[in-house]
């Protein structure tokens, strides 16, 4: 059944962004109103689309080069995209409302809401894209809106640098993604998912080609979902406003990489080698980020590393060829991570933008609603039954246990670390005594902020139960390991939490001092060195070459050469009659000499 609903839900945020940019920049309340209405409209339309069994949207041609390239603009409406639509617009709506409170006094509120609407448009576009080029376009567009939103407080150098870093780092991944798309297009002659799927069988005789294509497409996800080795931008992106961290850098945009991998699973699952690489990249990211998180002191950065780690789990599941498990974890993670960020935002605002956890403490009494909801999110994150994270993480671990035991072992260790750093955070921030003046004087956030927290806390608690999740997802099926894996995971959880409680209870400062972890394995330093010796060197050499060799050498050189020849010729033109006569005579003498004696 053809319907215009999918188009409305996609275009509503775009209209909002356009209206705000063109007309409403001066009226902050109006722009936030437009933006929230648009996202609510999107959410309602998503729900309506979700409720209908079969629905399709009219499509039109975007680029149409006969015989060479056809790029249609059409909307996919399958179970996967419908679920993502509801998730993205739902979490988006909650965070829009929360932003009202968080950005209450911000000068650039209109700009913020305009960019937020544009982001919603781009993100929904990724979800519904029915071909690679459209996906790539929205993919780039989310990158740009993410840049704008991270750099919202551009007058802080750290924010501006983080925005730039995020944009450029993800662009490196996007480039591989684009080449992957081009290769696939050359091989199959189409860029539309539905047309490529049946043609994949033609390529089975070229396993190397398939591996290369799958890995190149995976590059896009490595950038966007911040997987090792391009993970460095995500923690820095925490310089943006906290609702942005919740929406873009936890619940939706970074998950877009995983969603994309699931969307193009028909390509990726054709190559076992690629799958193995993907699984290991995910695993490495998961454990690396969890290790780093144990030694960070900024509340948002700890959550950012936990996001990295959880994204690693999802990518691991993709690599283990289970779309269901990875989508399940994406689904629950969106709730509990958005919740954790928003709760952290509530803490940060009430402490007047203090983010260092060692300046907090004892907040459980001061901010009770925030505390309770944060705990719900934290328990879901560490996979404590019966919170949602338990079910989805368990599904991935069970899968790993069946298919690849080393990955399972690392995954289990990551679960232990997760419990450790999350409980550490909880203990330091909410228990003990307040360690600073602001912490002592803090009080609970307004209802416009706590409301979204409660909604998300409910979802984070319930999201994993089959009766709820099955409406949205095809849940992964666990077989004979249904008892063993959860049991081991719970043991890891208890060990990690226990260790954290023992170590950090009533502490005023960090008892451990692991420089390697504190400096994030020196990735930033390494990349800085790398950029210095590649990009800067290249730029320096080229600039030198341009200025001195081409311009001063070849160009001015030829000019000077011309002048020099002119100057030489001028020497002959003295203008002195005697000299001319002398030369004339000299010439005659020379002529006679040559004529007579030779």
């Amino acid at each position: 059944m053809s319907s215009i609903l999918p188009w409305i839900l996609l275009l509503a945020p775009l209209c909002s962004a356009a209206c705000i940019t063109l007309f409403a920049l001066r009226w902050k309340a109006l722009s936030s109103f437009i933006s929230i209405m648009a996202v609510l409209l999107s959410f309602i339309c998503s729900c309506l689309v979700f409720a209908r069994a079969d629905i399709s949207a009219p499509q039109f041609g975007w680029i149409d080069v006969a015989g060479a390239l056809k790029v249609p603009f059409g909307l996919t409406q399958d179970q996967l995209s419908k679920m993502m639509l509801v998730l993205v617009s739902g979490v988006g709506a909650v965070i829009h409302i929360y932003s009202l409170g968080y950005m209450r006094d911000d000068e650039g509120k209109s700009r913020y809401f305009g960019a937020l609407s544009l982001f919603m448009f781009a993100m929904l576009g990724i979800v519904v894209a029915n071909n690679f080029v459209m996906l790539f376009m929205f993919w780039e567009l989310v990158g740009f809106t993410s840049y704008v939103l991270i750099g919202h407080w551009f007058y802080r150098d750290a924010a501006a640098a983080a925005a730039k870093k995020a944009f450029i780092t993800t662009r490196i991944g996007d480039f591989g993604f684009m080449i992957g798309i081009l290769m696939l297009w050359m091989a199959t002659g189409s860029i539309v998912f539905a047309e490529i799927t049946p043609r994949m069988s033609m390529l089975t005789s070229h396993p190397t080609f398939l591996t290369v294509v799958a890995l190149l497409i995976f590059c896009g996800a490595v950038g966007k979902s911040a997987q090792f080795p391009l993970h460095v931008w995500l923690p820095d992106a925490m310089e943006g406003p906290t609702p942005i961290s919740a929406l873009i850098h936890a619940a939706t945009m970074v998950a877009a990489g995983v969603y994309m991998l699931v969307r193009v699973a028909f390509v990726i699952q054709t190559s076992q080698t690629a799958l193995l690489v993907i699984a290991w990249i995910g695993t490495i990211t998961a454990v690396l980020a969890a290790l780093i998180a144990t030694q960070q002191n900024d509340i948002k950065r700890i959550l950012a590393y936990s996001t990295l780690s959880q994204l690693g789990y999802m990518v691991m599941a993709v690599g283990l060829a289970s779309n269901d498990a990875s989508m399940f974890h994406l689904f629950t993670h969106a709730f509990f991570k958005a919740l954790l960020f928003l709760a952290a935002g509530s803490v940060i605002v009430m402490l007047h933008h203090e983010q260092n956890i060692w300046k907090m403490g004892g907040l459980s009494q001061k901010l009770p609603i925030t505390f309770v909801t944060f705990v719900a999110g934290a328990l879901a994150l560490i996979g404590c039954p019966p919170f949602s994270g338990f079910f989805s993480k368990d599904a991935i671990l069970a899968l790993a246990y069946q298919r690849n035991v080393p990955i399972f072992a690392v995954g289990l260790f990551t679960a232990f670390l997760t419990a450790f750093y999350v409980i550490r955070l909880l203990v330091i921030v909410f228990f003990g005594k307040p360690r600073s003046e602001v912490a002592r004087e803090s009080r609970e956030s307004p209802a416009v902020m706590t409301g979204p927290l409660i909604v998300l806390a409910l979802l984070a608690t319930l999201g994993g139960f089959a009766f709820f999740a099955r409406r949205f997802l095809a849940l992964p099926i666990e077989k004979e390991v249904a008892v063993f894996v959860p049991a081991v995971a719970i043991v890891a959880l208890i060990l990690g939490s226990g260790l954290a409680i023992v170590l950090y209870r009533n502490r005023a400062s960090e008892p451990l001092d692991l420089q390697l972890l504190r400096h994030k394995f020196y990735f930033d330093e390494f990349y800085r060195w790398l950029i210095y010796w590649t990009q800067e060197l290249l730029a320096g050499v080229f600039a030198f070459f341009d200025r001195w060799i081409i311009d001063a050498g070849a160009v001015s050189g030829s000019g000077r050469g011309t002048l020099g020849i002119g100057a030489l010729l001028r020497l002959i033109q003295i203008g002195n009659l005697q000299a001319y006569l002398f030369l004339f005579g000299l010439g005659i003498v020379a002529l006679i000499y040559f004529a007579v004696f030779h």
Binding site: G61, D64, V65, F138, R171, L182, A539, F542, A543, A554
Partner: protein, 579 residues
């Protein structure tokens, strides 16, 4: 026997002679039948239009057209569709007429005449764009043809196809916005707009010429007013920049002239449509092509002959940089496509990998150099070279996708570069009197000039190839086309794409979003850097109109590239160099 055969001293090929005999016959018949006057203009134009399609269309359709022409009774739709595109020739006449009027009339009229002239040019382009059917744009269709120097076979011959139309449009858009951004030029105003209109008129002329010599004439005509624009009205190091640009242009022009003479001497014609059907010997093509293409490519900023571009852009007044980057650089790439590639397809195919190589080097190299520049205009100047590298890469692909993408990129870059220079040269420099990024970083101009900041963000996004702007549509088309021919080039270009993002973001950050230092006096809505400087500081309505025009152009094409691609594609498809 026609005169030119005697003049040439060498008989042209048999096929061409036969073709020409037929063609002369037709012209004579029509001249006899038509009244000389307004009507004859059209009739003459009609006469040549079928002649160039002899080889392509069935006799029936040609005969049919003649029937309609000679005995009237043409269906209304066809008439309307045929008359309107011909009006596009008036872009040239109007622009030159405006220029002449400018010197004659007193000063208060100057900028209004310039504005109306350029708007009329844009309007004519848009009318042609709307009313010409896509099928008519598939071939280089003659619109005017009047004998000029019959003894040499030179004609005043204008023609249009999808590629020309696209270029005429970008010329119109850039010209209007350039005038708007020069609204408050006070110094020798009439003269300024006179030179400006000459450049614009010359560009229209190049894009519409279908006669080789006419094209060359217009091409060289552009250089002279450019020199005066820069040398009189320019800023930093203006004599040097102007002279460098002029010498470079003449250096290129020398090669072009040699190439044109070769083509003329061999084929005995100057008509581009005839020449493009003439089979030049392979030996000749292999050396004549690089000569001709190199000559044109100088103006397109091909590496390593690009250094005139940054210096010229920096020295030029804002209007000069906008025209230079917006249109004049396109002259080179357009003529390279229209003349060099079309005339010498075999030579092109032999040399295309070298063009691709230079283009790729240019993309990465210029982006890397831009990363090191301290002057905002230098950054944009090098970014122009990098973006023009994409045009050359697209041309080098020799497939319909890549070449269409290149034409789209010419449009896109014309608009985006004009916008970038407008912000740097007009909005920033006029108010702060500096373009040094380090100095600008201390001003946090976004607070003082929010509209300029917004414009620059849009321009940078478009320049980086963010979807939704024309740059993305053009670059993705070029890269897809390139992948078919030179996959390796796409890999290397990737480095360029990352570098473009790096230097654009750096320039954006430093120019508008730096940290305000207390030493800079800030007042509400205006930045007061130089207390003696008491000119109006906020963005003027003229500047806003110009910026909005350019932004909407890049957005419209970016959101719906079919708008232009549908017209470019068939025209490119009709060219014979495609592999």
């Amino acid at each position: 026997m026609p005169v030119w055969n005697i003049k040439m001293g060498r008989p042209p090929s048999v096929s061409l002679r036969g073709h020409r005999a037929r063609y002369c016959d037709i012209v004579q018949r029509i001249e006899q039948q038509a009244r000389w006057g307004a009507h004859a203009h059209r009739v003459l134009a009609m006469a040549t239009s079928p002649s160039q399609t002899f080889a392509r269309q069935s006799t029936f359709s040609v005969g049919n057209k003649f029937h309609q022409l000679l005995f009237g009774e043409a269906p209304k739709r066809t008439r309307g569709a045929r008359v309107l595109p011909r009006m596009i020739a008036w872009t040239i006449y109007l622009t030159f007429a405006g220029a002449v009027l400018l010197i004659l009339l007193p000063r208060p009229f100057a900028r209004w005449i310039a504005l109306f002239t350029t708007i009329a040019g844009l309007a004519l382009g848009l009318i042609a764009f709307v009313h010409t059917s896509i099928a008519d744009l598939a071939h280089f269709t003659t619109i005017v043809r009047v004998p000029w120097v019959p003894a040499l076979g030179m004609n005043y011959h204008l023609a249009i196809d999808g590629v020309s139309l696209t270029m005429v449009l970008v010329t119109g858009i850039s010209a209007v916005s350039t005038v708007l951004f020069s609204w408050d030029v006070e110094h020798r105003q009439n003269e300024f707009f006179f030179w400006l209109l000459l450049v614009v008129g010359g560009c229209y002329g190049v894009f519409l010429s279908a006669d080789l010599f006419l094209l060359f004439g217009f091409y060289e005509l552009v250089i002279v007013p450019k020199y005066f624009l820069i040398a009189i009205f320019g800023s930093t190091n203006k004599e040097y920049g102007a002279m460098k640009l002029t010498l470079y242009s003449f250096f290129g022009g020398m090669f072009v002239f040699a190439g044109i003479l070769t083509a003329y001497a061999t084929a005995g014609s100057l008509d581009l449509n005839e020449l493009s059907r003439f089979q030049f010997p392979g030996q000749l093509q292999s050396w004549a092509f690089p000569v001709l293409f190199l000559g044109f490519a100088v103006l397109a900023g091909i590496w390593p002959l690009h250094t005139w571009a940054p210096t010229g852009h920096v020295a030029a007044p804002t209007a000069g940089s906008m025209l230079l980057a917006g249109i004049v650089m396109k002259l080179g790439s357009y003529a390279g496509l229209r003349v060099a590639m079309n005339l010498f397809p075999q030579g092109f195919q032999a040399w295309s990998k070298w063009i691709a190589l230079f283009a790729v080097i240019g993309i990465v190299y210029a982006a890397a150099v831009a990363l090191r520049q301290r002057d905002l205009k230098f950054v944009i100047g090098y970014s122009s070279v990098s973006h023009m590298g994409f045009v050359l890469l697209g041309l080098a692909t020799a497939n319909a996708l890549g070449v269409s993408g290149a034409v789209l990129q010419m449009f896109s870059h014309g608009v985006i570069a004009a916008l970038l220079f407008a912000v740097a040269g007009r909005m920033i420099y006029r108010r702060t009197h500096t373009r040094e990024l380090d100095a600008l970083a201390g001003m946090n101009l976004s607070g003082a000039l929010p509209f300029a900041a917004f414009t620059f963000v849009i321009a940078s996004a478009a320049s980086m190839g963010i979807p939704g702007f024309s740059g993305f549509a053009a670059e993705i088309t070029i890269l897809i086309g390139t992948w078919k021919t030179y996959p390796l080039a796409v890999w290397i270009t990737g480095a360029g794409i990352v570098l473009v993002a790096a230097f654009t973001l750096r320039a954006l950050k430093q120019s508008f979003f730096g940290e305000a230092r207390p030493s800079v006096l800030m007042q509400e809505g205006r930045v007061a850097l130089d207390l003696d400087w008491n000119e109006q500081q906020s963005i003027t309505p003229a500047e806003k109109c110009g910026a909005c025009l350019l932004m909407s152009a890049t957005l419209a094409v970016g959101v719906y590239p079919k708008l232009l691609l549908d017209r470019i594609m068939p025209a490119v498809d009709a060219m014979r160099f495609l592999k």
